[in-house]
Every structure is written in structure tokens, then in C-alpha cells.
């Protein structure tokens, strides 16, 4: 968008055609490069976009048309029956609500806790904080998948088996979140804190009144990431949840895939419904994700 918008203010005058032609006339090698780069980019974009397009368009086909040859890209009789069947069948609406609940609570907790920790790590200096920083670094080396069995036993011993708390609490601490906030607060000048201290503000109110509002963009970025991680989480909810009424969307979809005869109409509907929230969130908050400084080594 930005690259195509830039010439516009220049082009307002009478020399509109000339200014458009200038880069083309300057050298033909540049034109060839521009054409080949654009072509290559769009060939690649089509390759990447096509699977999703095919998948989404297929979900609008009535189940009788799904396997009828010749296959067509655009459905002949578009219908919402697949979505409706998916939404009504197998508690899918319940799964959707469960997942949304888990995601929202986890995201709020993750953002809050990471903000506090990141601030403490950036603006205070003592041995214990340094040690804790190393501890958080260590968690990146040991992802949850590595400790499935013992972590399961711990959560079971805490009495959280088959409850949402059992999914939410282990997911709150993320190294990525702490690093993101730490990096951000390191860029906030210490003088700001000192000035507030001289004015007699107490430590925690400096944090709550000055620092928390400052970090709003980071909060939003982490919130989107955290929501995405939890929405797409599969293995941990699968282990933790036993009661079908508490299942999450991903478990619901996998249970359709795992059936002997896959009901593709329902499966396509359910999958497309499960994609909607993240894609909407992403499109709305795109710039927070795209401009995020994610060099800290992003992973949950």
C-alpha cells in the first residue's frame, strides 16, 4: 500500500503522465526488474493463497457436490448447510464458547503478568531479578511438549484436571511476553521514573499510572499473539479435558477428522468457522502484528 501511495501527491500537477512515465523511461532494465519482481511476488502469493481459497470455497458447496467431478473452484449452488451442520452438531457452539473463554482469560492474565515482570526486569536491578531472568530464559529451552507427562501429573495433583484453570494457568507464563515488555521498558528513559519518584510517587503507582499506559501497543501485540497461541492450542487441552462439554474447538475438529468416515461437509464448515476469529482480529490489528519487534525469539 505505502509504495503505491507515494507517487500520488507528486502526480497531482499537470505533469501527471510524465511523472508516471519517468521511471519507465529511465532505463528498461528497471522495468524488466519491476515486472519480474511483481510477477514472481504474485505467483508466490497465489500459490500461498490458493489452498485457503480452495478450502473456503469448498466449504460453501453442498455435501453432494463436494466429490462430484469435474471439481469446480466456485461452488455452483453455494449453501451454508455445512456451517449450519457443523455449528449444530457435536456441541460445536459449546466448544466455540469454551475456547473463546479460555483464550480471553489467558490473554488478559498473560498480558498483565508479562507487563509486571517485564517492567521489573527492565527498571530494577538486583541479583534475584537477574537470576529470575535466566530462569525465564530457561523456559524457552523446555517447551511444554517436552514435559507432557510430568506437567500433566502436576496439574492433576493441583486438582485442576478437567477444568479450564488447568489449561489457563500453565499457559500464562511466556518468555516471549516477558521479553517483549522488557525490551520495551528498556527504551523508556529512567529519568521518567526518577522524576516521578522525586515528585513522591510510590513505586507501584509509578508502574500503574505511567508505565502501563505507555506500553499499550506492546500489550495489544502480545494480546494478539497470546490469543492466537491459545486458540490454536491442541495437545494440552486434549490431555487436560475429559468432559466433552468442556472441549475446545481444535479438539472438536480433530474428533471429526479422527472418525472412521470423515464427514467432509461438517469438517470443512467447522474448520472455516474456527478460522474466522483469528483472521478478523488479524485484519483489524494488522499493523500491531506486522510491525512487532519479534526478534526476541517468538514462541509460546
Amino acid at each position: 500500500m505505502t509504495t503505491t501511495d507515494i507517487p500520488r501527491p507528486v502526480a497531482k500537477g499537470p505533469g501527471r503522465a510524465a511523472s508516471k512515465n519517468r521511471p519507465r523511461g529511465a532505463n528498461t532494465g528497471g522495468l524488466r526488474q519491476a515486472v519480474s519482481a511483481t510477477t514472481l511476488l504474485w505467483i508466490m502469493a497465489c500459490l500461498y493463497g490458493f489452498p485457503v481459497l480452495w478450502f473456503v470455497l469448498s466449504s460453501f458447496k453442498p455435501s453432494s457436490d463436494l466429490f462430484s467431478y469435474p471439481l469446480t473452484l466456485v461452488p455452483h449452488n453455494p449453501t451454508l448447510s455445512g456451517f449450519k451442520a457443523a455449528w449444530d452438531s457435536a456441541n460445536f457452539s459449546q466448544y466455540f464458547i469454551n475456547t473463546a473463554l479460555v483464550c480471553v482469560i489467558t490473554t488478559i492474565l498473560t498480558v498483565g503478568v508479562s507487563c509486571c515482570t517485564g517492567y521489573a526486569l527492565a527498571k530494577y536491578d538486583n541479583r534475584w531479578l537477574k537470576a529470575f531472568f535466566l530462569c525465564i530464559l530457561a523456559t524457552t529451552m523446555l517447551p511444554g511438549e517436552v514435559m507432557l507427562a510430568p506437567e500433566f501429573l502436576v496439574v492433576r495433583n493441583l486438582g485442576l484436571y478437567n477444568s479450564f484453570a488447568g489449561i489457563i494457568l500453565p499457559a500464562v507464563l511466556t518468555a516471549t511476553g516477558c521479553f517483549m515488555f522488557r525490551q520495551f521498558f528498556l527504551t523508556v528513559p529512567d529519568e521518567l521514573v526518577e522524576a516521578a519518584r522525586i515528585d513522591g510517587a510510590r513505586e507501584l503507582s509509578i508502574f500503574l499510572r505511567i508505565m502501563v499506559p505507555l506500553s499499550r501497543p506492546i500489550m495489544l501485540t502480545l494480546a494478539i499473539l497470546s490469543f492466537q497461541w491459545r486458540w490454536n492450542d491442541y495437545i494440552w487441552p486434549l490431555l487436560m479435558l475429559n468432559d466433552p462439554n468442556k472441549f475446545t474447538v481444535q479438539i472438536g475438529i480433530q474428533s471429526i477428522v479422527g472418525a472412521q468416515n470423515i464427514n467432509w461437509s461438517v469438517l470443512l464448515g467447522a474448520s472455516v468457522i474456527s478460522m474466522i476469529p483469528l483472521i478478523v482480529i488479524f485484519l483489524v490489528f494488522q499493523r500491531y502484528v506486522m510491525s512487532a519487534d519479534i526478534n526476541a525469539g517468538l514462541k509460546d
Binding site: 509504495t3 503505491t4 511476488l41 502469493a45 515482570t117 507464563l173 506486522m290
Partner: protein, 303 residues
């Protein structure tokens, strides 16, 4: 007057360490979570890996038997080699396509790059389960679009699902497709940090785009490249849901990776002790990867 001024000037470093209560309050929640869900499982995991615990009831310490059995277990070896093969295929493929995408997106010559960037990024938003379903839909043996097109052009249906190697290949493509958007963002950030003057100087000297890419871009983004390779290796080593949704880790058990092996032995067969031992082997691999990362990072920073 001067005395008090110097005292004030000297005080900030000392005053900083005076605050101990406030930071402790701020990190308290994460400290609790860290000890509950990280230290505790790590410790009991290590302990259980030396026992024959089944998840309930009593257990006995059996020394290194679990580890001993593990190295004689052909299923474990199959899972381990399959995981390594997957990593070896996925990491370079994802690296190459992401780098290409990043270069095209930042290229001044390419039109519509911001829309293309969103298209590249959307697969990353899909859950691994949905990615598996999506590629299964495309690569179904009897009903998939890909085989339909191949047959239309006179080819024979390709056994994407019943051939173990082809099945792995589909997962590799699916995973590379999913992770491109994210890896691309890391590369874009790195490429934008390369000073423009380098390219200007190079083009004055008559270097073409390929030469510029190999002589300027690639060396300049080396630290990011390294991080990308290591992050993706870790991601590949713990892959599980895509395999389950795409082909149930099949055909048969041929594409069961390490995490699936741990899951099956620990939770389907109830051998928690044995699964913990397998977990620790996986952990050692990941630690080795992480240590390489730390060493290289330090070398890059010291340069």
C-alpha cells in the same frame, strides 16, 4: 552545597538497588507460575524417568533401565529418525521460501507487496489442526484437488496418503507454507536494517540484483538467519498436531514423531516413567540446539 550535590549525583546507582519490595511484588505471579509449572514438572519428570511409574499407585526406582530400554526400542528409533528427517527437510525449505518472500515483499520494484504480505501471513494464523485438514483436503488420494489435476493431465493418482515418504513430504510442504509468514517477518526486519548505501555503492560498481543479494543481503542478515534456523529446528522437533490431522501420523505408525511417541507411551499405554525418559532425550536434543544458539549469539555480539 557541593557536597550535597555530589551526594545526590552519587545516589541513583545506590538507590536503584534499594527497591526490593516493589520488583518482588511485580514478579511474584510469574515466580509462582514458574515454580509450579516449570520447576516442579522438571524435577518430578527427572525423578520419574528412573522409575516404572504408571501414573497411579506405587512405583519403584529401576535406575537407568528406562534409558537402557529406550535405546533398544526400535519404535523410539523410528520416531527419532523420522523427526530428524522431518527437521532436515522442513528447515531448509522454509528458510528458502521465507527468504524469497521477504526479498520480494521489501523489493521496491514489486507492486502490491502489502497485500501479498497479508496473504503470506494468513496461513500462520490457522491452527495446526486446520492446516492438517486443509492439506488433507487438497492431497486426498481419491478426492483431492491435486490428484484430480494430475489425472486430468494424464498422470496416475499419486499415493499421497498411503506412501509414508510422500505423506511426510506433504507435511513438510504444509509446515513450510504455515511458517513462511512468520519467518518472513523476521527476515523483513533484518533486511530493512541493512544500510541502503551498501546497495547504492554496489549498483554503482555494476553489481546486479543476484550479486547484491549474495554479497550484501545474505551476509548482513546472517544473525537472523541463524536464529531462524534454530527456532525452526526446535519447532520441527516438537511437531505433532499437523501430522495427526493430516494423516494420523500414518500410514500406520510410520510418521509418528517424538512428541506423538511420548504422548502414546505416556497416556495411551500409561508408562509415565518410560515416557519421561523419552522426554528427557528430546530435552537433551533441544538443549543442544539452544546451547549452539547461545554460543553463536555470543560470538556474533562480540564481533
Amino acid at each position: 552545597m557541593t557536597k550535597s550535590a555530589s551526594a545526590v549525583a552519587a545516589s541513583p546507582p545506590r538507590r536503584r538497588s534499594k527497591y526490593t519490595l516493589a520488583p518482588l511484588v511485580l514478579i511474584a505471579a510469574n515466580v509462582v507460575l514458574f515454580s509450579l509449572f516449570f520447576v516442579w514438572p522438571a524435577v518430578i519428570g527427572l525423578v520419574y524417568s528412573f522409575t516404572n511409574y504408571t501414573g497411579v499407585g506405587a512405583f519403584q526406582f529401576i535406575g537407568l533401565d528406562n534409558y537402557h530400554n529406550l535405546f533398544g526400542d526400535s519404535t523410539f528409533y523410528d520416531a527419532l529418525t523420522r523427526t530428524l528427517l522431518y527437521a532436515v527437510l522442513f528447515v531448509p525449505l522454509n528458510f528458502a521460501v521465507s527468504l524469497l518472500a521477504a526479498n520480494l515483499v521489501v523489493s521496491k520494484n514489486a507492486k502490491g507487496s502489502s497485500v501479498a504480505r497479508v496473504i503470506f501471513f494468513i496461513p500462520w494464523l490457522l491452527s495446526p489442526i486446520v492446516v492438517g485438514v486443509l492439506w488433507r483436503w487438497m492431497f486426498g488420494e481419491n478426492f483431492g484437488l491435486v490428484n484430480y489435476i494430475i489425472e486430468k493431465f494424464g498422470g496416475d493418482a499419486v499415493p499421497w496418503q498411503s506412501n509414508a515418504d510422500l505423506s511426510l513430504l506433504v507435511v513438510v510442504m504444509a509446515a513450510a507454507w504455515t511458517w513462511t509468514g512468520f519467518t518472513m517477518l523476521l527476515f523483513i526486519a533484518a533486511i530493512k536494517n541493512v544500510p541502503v548505501s551498501y546497495y547504492e555503492a554496489a549498483s554503482l560498481d555494476g553489481a546486479g540484483p543476484w550479486r547484491q543479494f549474495f554479497s550484501i543481503t545474505l551476509p548482513s542478515i546472517a544473525p537472523t538467519s541463524f536464529i531462524v534456523i534454530l527456532l525452526n529446528t526446535i519447532n520441527a522437533m516438537k511437531e505433532y498436531p499437523v501430522f495427526v490431522a493430516l494423516n494420523n501420523g500414518g500410514p500406520g505408525t510410520s510418521n509418528n514423531l517424538l512428541v506423538q511417541y511420548i504422548y502414546d507411551t505416556g497416556f495411551k499405554r500409561g508408562q509415565i516413567g518410560y515416557a519421561s525418559a523419552a522426554s528427557f532425550v528430546l530435552m537433551l536434543i533441544l538443549m543442544a540446539v539452544a546451547i549452539v544458539q547461545l554460543i553463536v549469539n555470543r560470538r556474533v555480539e562480540n564481533r
